[in-house]
């Protein structure tokens, strides 16, 4: 319990730093630390899958995205300071936020005991799915439609990001140009880290059926490895009009949807799996979904096209 109190104090302290820091760069660094501390909190709440997702996606990729944005917008810290809200606004906002917090705290303290839970029903039917990680069973079997729609949402966000390209670089290469220094430090690190990282990413995805892990965590590690290789200048982003890139992006959701439709024929409902082949079907869905999500996440971090494609 003392450990929990210390952890909560740290989390609230870092969150207050993120809100109150003067410079945006310092706030973003605070946010990355906040994400990692939240991952510790998730472990304390007996949710290791969520802890991995928070550390990789919520803290790692989001932090990288925000760091890049904060350095690009660094010159705007000054002029925006003249719009600071007045003291009355500050007081009103503080009162409102205290009311919101108090309302949520009351909800927490008045939670039902014993709490209603779906854990017994999830575990009762888990043998039929062929998986032993209950969170993966929920993601891929019980609530597979949520996961399907989630992959579509990721694609829609990517379409939104791509649509922000300027007219003359429409359909071009995303992200700035990184020059590769063959004797540079980043090249050395990328050459060592990327193969290990790809192995770790595939392992995290593969082991998700029996232990904490899964396709989102594995896909995030794979996306991060591409980002490191691209920052070292070892690989360059392809133009967004490339057919193989677009096929890689839609392969996951398309196959997911196709297997869902096939569920009508072989098991009597959308995204229903026949009991004997459940694990095989789930694996057939997970592999292309992992590749698609890794590509989507990497392209979301790379941003809209900024360089015209070479003719």
């Amino acid at each position: 319990m003392a450990f929990d109190i210390g952890l909560v104090t740290l989390v609230l302290g870092v969150a207050a730093w993120t809100i109150g820091a003067r410079e945006t760069f310092a706030a973003v660094v605070g946010f990355v630390a906040y994400g990692l501390l939240l991952a510790l909190v998730w472990v304390r709440l007996a949710a290791p899958d969520v802890a991995m997702t928070e550390a990789a996606l919520g803290s790692g990729l989001t932090g990288g995205l925000l760091l890049g944005a904060s350095t690009r917008l660094a010159r705007t810290d000054g002029p925006a300071a003249i719009e600071k809200p007045s003291a009355i606004m500050r007081l009103a906002a503080a009162v409102l936020c205290t009311l919101v917090s108090a309302g949520l705290a009351a909800l927490v303290l008045l939670m039902l005991e014993p709490a209603p839970t779906l854990a017994p029903r999830a575990m009762a039917n888990i043998a039929a799915t062929g998986l032993s990680n209950p969170v993966t069973a929920v993601l891929m079997a019980y609530r597979a439609i949520d996961t399907l729609l989630e992959t579509v949402v990721l694609l829609l966000a990517l379409v939104g990001v791509w649509s922000l390209a300027r007219d003359r670089v429409w359909g071009g290469l995303p992200g700035p140009y990184h020059r590769a220094d063959p004797h540079g430090l980043l090249t050395f690190t990328a050459q060592i880290l990327v193969p290990i990282g790809i192995l770790i990413g595939i392992y995290i995805f593969w082991v998700g059926s029996v232990a904490p892990g899964g396709e989102f965590q594995g896909a995030t590690v794979l996306a991060a490895m591409w980002i490191i290789a691209s920052m070292a200048g070892l690989v360059d982003a392809p133009p967004v009009t490339r057919r193989w890139l677009r096929l890689a992006l839609i392969a996951g959701p398309a196959l997911f949807f196709a297997i869902g439709l096939a569920g009508f024929a072989i098991a009597g409902g959308f995204l229903a799996y026949p009991e004997s082949h459940a694990k095989l079907l789930i694996l057939m869905i997970e592999v292309p979904v992992t590749l698609s999500i890794a590509t989507t996440l990497a392209l979301l971090v790379a941003g809209p096209p900024e360089r015209a494609p070479a003719r």
Binding site: V8, V41, A93, G303
Partner: protein, 102 residues
């Protein structure tokens, strides 16, 4: 007070802090940061509900945990789109602010 309740109160304070930052900061990037803070707090509340639903030999109810994983991925996608919009706004107007031009 069980650990679940402690983390639940922590999540309530986080939502309040993030909301304060969202209202107070004029710079859009700080607003995006504060919004992510609010998101972290809300997901933490889900996690507390999951922890309280520990049963059948598990440490927590897996359904809210799976919902949080989905939520984290979607929150990242929203943040990426917001940052891209902000970068484009900066490219077009040379300033990153939500004030309308005079």
């Amino acid at each position: 007070m069980t650990e679940g309740t402690l983390y639940g109160l922590c999540s309530a304070v986080l939502v309040g802090l993030g909301l304060f930052g969202l209202i107070m900061h004029p710079e859009p990037l700080r607003k995006i940061l504060a919004f992510n803070l609010v998101g972290g707090g809300v997901f933490l509340l889900f996690g507390v509900v999951a922890r309280k639903g520990a049963a059948a030999g598990l440490g927590g109810d897996p359904v809210p945990q799976a919902l949080v994983i989905t939520g984290l991925v979607v929150a990242f996608a929203a943040t990426a789109l917001a940052v891209a919009l902000l970068a484009r706004l900066f490219q077009e107007t040379g300033r990153a602010t939500l004030q309308a031009d005079e």
